[in-house]
């Protein structure tokens, strides 16, 4: 769970950074996309690692959730929460929405099968993204999913340190801060693009 999550958390930061080339103009993002496809070894190497990490993450997540539900045995009739954060209590749900988002996102911008009106964009990634986010419902779905990703990452990343045994009371709040900052950077970076298209800043 922790190791696959670490791979995926690293990926989203890299993916977000690459996406920001959208703001540098059509040539920058199109050249970046072209460079990725010109290196199939790198592209497919990364894809295989990501697919395996995603499968491992989902599989261990399902096992973890089911085992933990069974161990709780229903829990008390009155349930009081003293400190568990919202993000920690919603991990399975934010995870499911992110998975649904992932499927849609792949069909949308990787396979280009949905929500693009059947238009062929070829190598013009810039134009495809603008057209994709011109539909408010799609852009809003992306933004909401990224807020949930932020929630998911903020608990996930701080948990990685605990699982690997690299945390104590002195460092807990600092590491929670690092995780929160990382989650917000990733989420705001991703959100900036559909938001810029929606508001007409990116054309």
């Amino acid at each position: 769970m922790a190791l696959s999550g670490l791979v995926l958390a690293g990926f989203v930061l890299g993916h977000m950074t690459g996406n920001l080339l959208m703001f540098k103009g059509p040539d920058a993002i199109n050249a970046y996309a072209h460079w990725l496809h010109a290196n199939p070894g790198l592209l497919w190497g990364a894809r295989v690692v990501l697919i395996l990490s995603t499968i491992a993450h989902i599989w261990t997540g399902i096992l973890l959730t089911l085992e933990n539900r069974a161990s709780r045995d229903g829990g008390p009739a009155v349930d009081a929460t003293r400190r568990a954060s919202l993000s920690s209590r919603t991990m399975p749900y934010s995870g499911i929405v992110i998975l649904a988002f992932l499927v849609f996102h792949l069909l949308h911008f990787t396979f280009r099968k949905v929500a693009l009106g059947g238009v062929e964009f070829g190598d013009n990634v810039h134009k495809m993204v603008i057209a994709g986010f011109a539909q408010p419902a799609v852009a809003v779905f992306y933004i909401v999913s990224m807020v949930l990703l932020c929630l998911h990452l903020s608990h996930g990343i701080s948990s990685v340190f605990q699982t690997l045994g690299l945390r104590n009371e002195r460092w807990r709040s600092r590491l929670d801060g690092v995780a929160c900052l990382y989650a917000w950077i990733v989420a705001l970076g991703f959100i900036s693009i559909p938001l810029a298209v929606l508001t007409g800043c990116l054309k």
């Binding site: 085992e67 161990s71 400190r83 340190f161 605990q162 045994g165 807990r172």
Partner: protein
């Protein structure tokens, strides 16, 4: 003790208490206690309830208790959803009725976890914890006359850390408060207590692997870092012990994986 002019305050309480026989489904029973002194402990309030039930010729509520001074770890009640009640860092027996309001309805339940089946009413079977201790919560030494205490020097910070972990009274509030029914705080405390002391080194890896395995086999859940256990632990044991348990477990697994078999491999030279 809250007193005015030598007269003690009392509370009228409504109680919803869990009634269950072993292996059968349970349900809440409602009872009223008209005059509970605010200086009574929660267990003394339960005693009052049971005395009323005896006077009425009814069955009393079974609940675990022993020392009534916060060190034995026997008392185990989930009070309004909180193991050991609303005050952090105290056991049920050290919780006093002055922490409740007049006219309040108090819900009293047993520890809820698959690994802690209900024996009767509020008493649960915590022998899963005993099994965890039996699998590694000890050091192997020759018994007999006590050894000279200063033969093995223990640095003060290490002794303090071990004592912090050893504060765990094994009550099970960590499991009851955990939304995953996980016993990681208990096992972490026990493992840390012994694993950081020189006396615990010889069996360190074996202890860690065995206790974690016993914990998993007993049907406890897994830690997902909610932090509820720390917030409800009557001894305020921190999540540090879980981080250290994870570290020691990882170390022990890696060492076991690459341990020497003492023989050349087949086909090797």
């Amino acid at each position: 003790m809250v007193q005015d002019n030598g007269k003690e305050h009392t509370l009228a309480l409504k109680l919803r208490v869990w009634r269950q026989r072993r292996g059968q489904p349970g349900a809440f029973e409602e009872h009223a206690l008209p005059a509970v002194p605010t200086s009574a402990s929660f267990l003394e309030m339960m005693d009052m309830l049971n005395e009323r039930l005896i006077a009425q010729g009814k069955d009393t509520f079974a609940f675990d208790h022993d020392c009534r001074e916060g060190i034995c770890g026997m008392c185990s009640m989930t009070i309004n959803g909180m193991p050991h009640g609303p005050i952090p860092g105290v056991t049920t027996c050290q919780l006093h009725m002055r922490n409740f309001r007049d006219g309040e309805t108090i819900t009293v339940e047993p520890w809820r976890a698959r690994a802690f089946p209900v024996l009767k009413d509020l008493a649960v079977d915590r022998s899963a914890f005993d099994k965890v201790i039996q699998s590694g919560g000890f050091i192997t030494v020759r018994t007999g006359s006590a050894p000279e205490a200063n033969n093995i020097p223990v640095p003060k910070p290490i002794a303090d850390e071990a004592m912090d972990a050893a504060e765990c009274i094994g009550c099970g509030a960590c499991v009851a408060s955990c939304k995953n029914g996980s016993a990681m705080l208990f096992v972490g405390a026990k493992i840390n207590h012994l694993n950081i002391l020189p006396q615990g080194q010889a069996e360190r890896d074996r202890r860690t692997l065995a206790m974690v395995k016993t914990m998993d086999d007993a049907g406890f859940g897994n830690c997902t870092n909610y932090g509820e256990c720390q917030a409800h632990c009557p001894k305020s044991i921190t999540l540090d012990v879980i981080a250290k348990l994870n570290r020691d477990y990882l170390r022990a697994r890696v060492k076991a994986f690459f341990s020497s078999t003492g023989k050349p491999s087949k086909g090797g030279d």
